[in-house]
Amino acid sequence: MTQLFTCWTAEVGAADAARAGGKAAALGELARAGLPVPRGFVITTAAFVSHMDGVDPDGAARGALGALAADDLAGIARAAAGLRGRVAAQALPPEVAAEIAPACAALGDGPVAVRSSATLEDSAEASFAGLQDTYLVVRGTDAVLDRVRACWASLYNDESIAYRRRQGTGEDGLAMGVVVQPMLDPRSAGVMFTRSPVTGDRSVVAIEGTWGLGSALVGGEVTPDSFTVSKVTGEITGRRVGVKLRVHSFTPNGQGISATPMAVPLRRTPCLTDDEVRALARLGRQVEDHYGAPQDIEWALLGDDPRRFALLQSRPETVWAARDSGPIASPQAKASDHVLARFSRGL
């Protein structure tokens, strides 16, 4: 469906971050690599540029933002509020709306999630995690069009602007894509690191999960289950069952997202079976192999079947990557020199 302002997620790849935003590019890349990602479409940065041409034709408002000092929080707040209001209020260019409507129709009647996909977000260098908005349970094309503008406006959140000022990132050329996906109703969801977040061990996959939507875990409302899986042997080498007092769930015909107490028998029941843990770890390895570096992944399980995992996001692991220093051992003239050296120093 590749058009100027929209395309299917699977039609973009890692090289398309400028056109689709980082999140969309990463999802598209996963889809291209044959990994399970939810279907959906991307509203490209060209749509954002076109919209902003109407909002701020000469770029003066954005230029003014770029001139503010990082610690001028009052100035940032004042300027940002004005710009956000205009981004949200301005009608979408008709040619953009004309592409989005049929794409929404193609996803079906159900509610969708509208997720921002900034050009700087999800890159290894600067993690903007959480600074831009995601809207869940959006129903109907008009609401989608509203939320798309709200996503764009979130690029001008006070914190986002302050962050850019601190990082010295210019406002010129800043753009945002948007991903629209059908709402998922996962049985379990969570995050996965393809390197131990605790020890930095590259030979394990660390999984955290909870019942229902992953937002309960990300928001810290539950103590998640955690599992450690060896990449080499596939063995589950670590297992801690959390106490999952609450569950976030999506009910297609109800009130959208609900946060309710978890049924008592399931609070201390692992949210993944061993088979599911191993299948998820295998997916993690595939993602890592595809990118050639450890990844930080969001996942959801869409039913009682290890084949029904979906990957919602993947970005390079940054914490341990930054700590890696020199090699822990180097080749010696003779293999036995390793032993001689070891036994020649105290324990």
Binding site: V232, T237, I328, A329, S336, V339, F343, G346, L347
Partner: protein, 603 residues
């Protein structure tokens, strides 16, 4: 933090009271095995791995001689920079040990220079030296096997005269006995000649893996270096072959649960060609492959399969039934080899740099060079040689019994080897003098009292350790050989209710009824699907692994026999628990977590 500041502690050696009914235990053991007042200042742990039972007096030779040999090799021959030898003490019949470290940096440096040259020579020439070692050990086995006990007939052999030998039979009583003791010592020197160097290569690779992959399990490291054609599997392989032949030759009906070995062998002799073929194959398998001890070669009563056919004949009916059902498979050596190589190359690929990969290749390569020794030496030394050694000593015991000094041949093992020397002198003198030996009045009461004391000592529960807890116990060799780490010590100090902790040696989690065995001769009691709980396993326990769901042992690290066999069978194992056989009872339902090294009693 001072680990001894508060909370639970181990008793000091001086605080150990004599076991009731065995107050005279000191009379069984040499003075140099007794705890000294200064020993209270050091940390000792019970070497239940090698010595899970109270020591009969003769069997202390399996502590005295090995520690004499291993210390000589590490401290004096190869001059390990940071390690001297191992000291051992006996209290209430149990052997406690401590390793003597070198901590002064100057002394370490001085030793390191010597160590580099000497150890380097062995590593450089390992394959050649190991081939030579095998020849020498086989020579020692031939020698110990050929030693005879003089008959002491009324008139000596005429050849003494016609060949003008000039030396009468009674002389050879002592010479041949001394020869046994001397050969045992020579064997142990050779045993420990390669031991620390072999384990040293493994320790270095192990530590590298732990640093590169902090969460890697001990068993994953072990799997990368494990040999495939390991001698310890051979006795069991021979049994499988005999089971196949029984079916093929049409004599399989004789192998039924509970069959008596002599009855089966007698019946086979009447079964024509098929029976003859089976008996021939049996004799070929028996020598040398049945020279496998039912224990670890440290006690005289750990008889070999060759001495006591009960164990192999307890396994045969099951294998025969599997052959009939087409279920008896060979060890899948090709796929085991492929899996080992896959694991190693997967970890290698996960390393962060080419430099690390090159270092990994060197360390793993060296491990694979030394591992044939590490894995196979026990068969030659503790099993084959030692079975023969105890058989010879038993024959001297028979001489003492024939001369009336002892009531029966087995009683010889109630005497220290220096006391056996005395008893044999008595017999030599008596034959020469034409008078009865005087030993009966002296030794028989001693033997009776010691047997009684050993029974009393059996009821004493030895603390897993004695003395102050060390600030840090990070000796990888102690970890590898005995499974003793800081965590083990913690678990010894604070045993959790209904939970036994050890080393997770083979992964997986299963539940099932426990079967606690203290002796391999009980393996006939094991039922399908049970969880084996035992002090320690040896190659002769292999047949039982076909029945059980998981293995738990008091003793052993990730390279112990139980660990290796359990990984091979793909069943969970927890080893080095210290006291699982005491805290778990047969019939209790237990859950074995081979990943975390925990055994829970659940009902």
């Amino acid at each position: 933090m001072d680990p001894n500041a508060s909370g639970p502690r181990f008793p000091l050696p001086s605080e150990i009271a004599d076991a009731p009914g065995a107050e005279g235990w000191r009379s069984m053991y040499p003075y140099f095995t007794r705890f000294q007042p200064d020993d209270d200042k050091r940390f000792w742990f019970y070497n239940s791995m090698h010595f899970p039972e109270p020591m009969p007096a003769f069997d202390t030779i399996t502590a005295e001689v090995p520690y004499s040999a291993i210390g000589a090799n590490t401290a004096r021959v190869f001059v390990f920079p940071t390690t001297l030898g191992i000291e051992h003490r006996i209290v209430n019949g149990r052997v406690y040990i401590t390793a003597n470290p070198v901590t002064d940096p100057d002394e370490i440096g001085r030793r390191a220079a010597v160590f580099g040259e000497r150890a380097g020579y062995y590593y450089e020439n390992w394959d050649t030296l190991y081939q030579g070692w095998k020849m020498r050990i086989k020579g020692l086995i031939d020698e110990i096997t050929s030693i005879t006990v003089p008959e002491l007939p009324e008139f000596d052999d005429p050849a003494v005269v016609t060949e003008s030998r000039g030396v009468a039979q009674n002389h050879y009583v002592r010479e041949n006995f001394h020869r046994c003791i001397d050969l045992f010592s020579v064997m142990w020197h050779h045993h420990t000649e390669f031991l620390m160097l072999g384990y040293g290569a493994y320790v270095v690779f192990f530590q590298f893996c732990k640093q590169a992959f902090p969460e890697i399990s001990d068993q994953a490291v072990a799997r990368m270096v494990a040999g495939i054609d390991v001698i310890m599997y051979r006795p069991d392989d021979e049994l499988r072959g005999l089971a196949r032949l029984a079916v093929e030759a049409g004599v399989d009906d004789l192998f039924i649960e509970g069959c008596s070995p002599p009855a089966v062998l007698a019946a086979l002799a009447d079964r024509g060609e098929g029976g003859r073929r089976w008996l021939e194959a049996f004799e070929r398998a028996r020598d040398p492959w049945f020279n496998v001890s039912t224990g670890d070669g440290f006690y005289h009563h750990h008889r070999s399969w060759a001495d006591d056919l009960t164990v192999p004949f307890a396994a045969l009916p099951r294998y025969v039934a599997q052959v009939r059902d087409g279920l008896l498979a060979d060890r899948p050596t090709e796929s085991l080899r492929a899996e080992r190589d896959r694991i190693a190359s997967s970890y290698r690929d996960l390393l962060g740099s080419d430099e690390e990969k090159a270092a990994f290749d060197q360390m793993l390569g060296l491990c694979r060079v030394v591992f044939p020794y590490v894995e196979d030496h026990k068969f030659y030394c503790e099993h084959w040689f030692t079975s023969q050694f105890f058989s010879r000593i038993r024959e001297f015991g028979a001489l003492l019994a024939r001369s009336g000094v002892l009531a029966e041949a087995e009683d010889v093992f109630q005497l220290h080897h220096t006391e056996v020397d005395q008893a044999l002198s008595d017999v030599m003198l008596a034959w020469a003098a034409g008078a009865p030996p005087l030993g009966a009045a002296h030794f028989r009461p001693i033997v009776a009292e010691r047997k009684r004391m050993l029974e009393a000592l059996r009821g004493w529960s030895p603390p897993p350790a004695l003395g102050p807890v060390p600030e840090a116990l990070n000796d990888p060799a102690v970890h590898m050989l005995w499974g003793v780490t800081q965590q083990t010590i913690e678990a010894w100090l604070r045993p959790a209710e209904g939970e036994v902790r050890g080393v997770g040696a083979s992964s997986g989690v299963v539940e099932g009824p426990a079967r606690v065995l203290t002796d391999v001769n009980q393996i006939g009691e094991v039922r399908d699907g049970e969880i084996l709980v035992c002090p320690v396993t040896a190659p002769s326990w292999a047949p039982v692994f076909g029945k059980i769901k998981a293995a738990v042992s008091d003793i052993g690290g990730s390279m112990s026999h139980a660990a290796i066999v359990a990984r091979e069978y793909g069943m969970p194992a927890v080893v080095g628990t210290g006291d699982a056989t005491k805290r778990i009872s047969t019939g209790q339902r237990v859950r074995v977590d081979g990943d975390r090294g925990i055994v829970q009693v659940i009902a």
